[in-house]
């Protein structure tokens, strides 16, 4: 299932700019390095890059920021959307990093 998201904020610079549109597909399988959109309890929908700290523990990170102390960790099985294409400065494929 595909879903359309609009980026709000600048923490994902330089990959994504405020106002960019991204298309993402629904997934429950976490893959480190991908940009995901996830519905969090306290902060609503976040768009962040997924990092792997440990084989069983994933956390969210910003492309424009080092450290992720205030971002929630996510777990295998959590419903999320994997962003794969962005619009805003032309059309861009979002790469795994």
């Amino acid at each position: 299932m595909l879903r359309l998201f609009r980026v709000s904020g600048r923490s994902m610079l330089p990959t994504l700019r405020d106002g960019d549109l991204v298309i993402a597909w629904r997934s429950t399988r976490l893959r480190a390095g991908r940009i995901i959109c996830i519905d969090t309890t306290h902060e609503g929908w976040l768009i962040k890059r997924l990092r792997c700290r440990h084989p069983a523990r994933f956390y969210l990170d910003s492309d424009g920021q080092t450290g992720s102390e205030n971002l929630p960790t996510v777990h295998d099985g959590d419903l999320h959307y994997v962003a794969f294409i962005a619009f805003g400065r032309g059309i861009r494929w979002l790469q795994t990093r």
Partner: protein
């Protein structure tokens, strides 16, 4: 064309300020100590004979301006840490955080309104408690020591 308010589009937050992720209660503690120091300096001026009334008014005006600014700085610094850094996990661990922050806001305002040293001392103590709470969320131990400058009050420092 897809508009911002279209239901097809979900807004996904990538917010942060700069982003720098640098948070430290040191500035707010220094500001709280400065509020006490300004009141002390005003009392010193009032207790000795100034050269002129104009000199006294000038000195008091400068101290009042600094007291006002530093009390406001305390409130600003606390608001930034409370609003930007503290999140649900920290609030769950420190359920009194909101009350503590609110007390700092009220006491900071009292310090701006008056020159009661007891209010300024209370502000320092509340800021110490806030700093201890902050460092605890970072897993950093703290110690209390008398600051090596006037007003020589007990202040919280991280043990790094």
């Amino acid at each position: 064309m897809i508009r911002q308010d279209d239901k097809l589009v979900t807004s996904a937050s990538a917010h942060c300020d700069v982003p720098c992720a640098i948070y430290d209660p040191a500035p707010l503690l220094i500001s709280a100590l400065t509020v006490v120091r300004m009141i002390d300096i005003m009392e010193e001026w009032m207790s000795h004979k100034p050269d002129s009334e104009l000199a006294l008014q000038n000195a008091l005006s400068r101290c009042v301006a600094q007291k006002e600014q530093h009390a406001e700085d305390v409130k600003h610094e606390v608001r930034v840490i409370w609003g930007d850094y503290l999140k649900a996990p920290q609030f769950e661990k420190h359920p009194n955080a909101h009350e503590l922050v609110h007390n700092i806001m009220l006491t900071g305002s009292k310090c701006k309104q008056g020159v009661d040293r007891a209010d300024a001392l209370k502000l320092v103590e509340l800021c110490n408690e806030f700093a201890e709470m902050f460092w605890e969320t970072k897993g950093v131990e703290t110690k209390r020591a008398v600051c090596p400058y006037k007003p020589s009050l007990e202040t919280v420092y991280p043990v790094l």
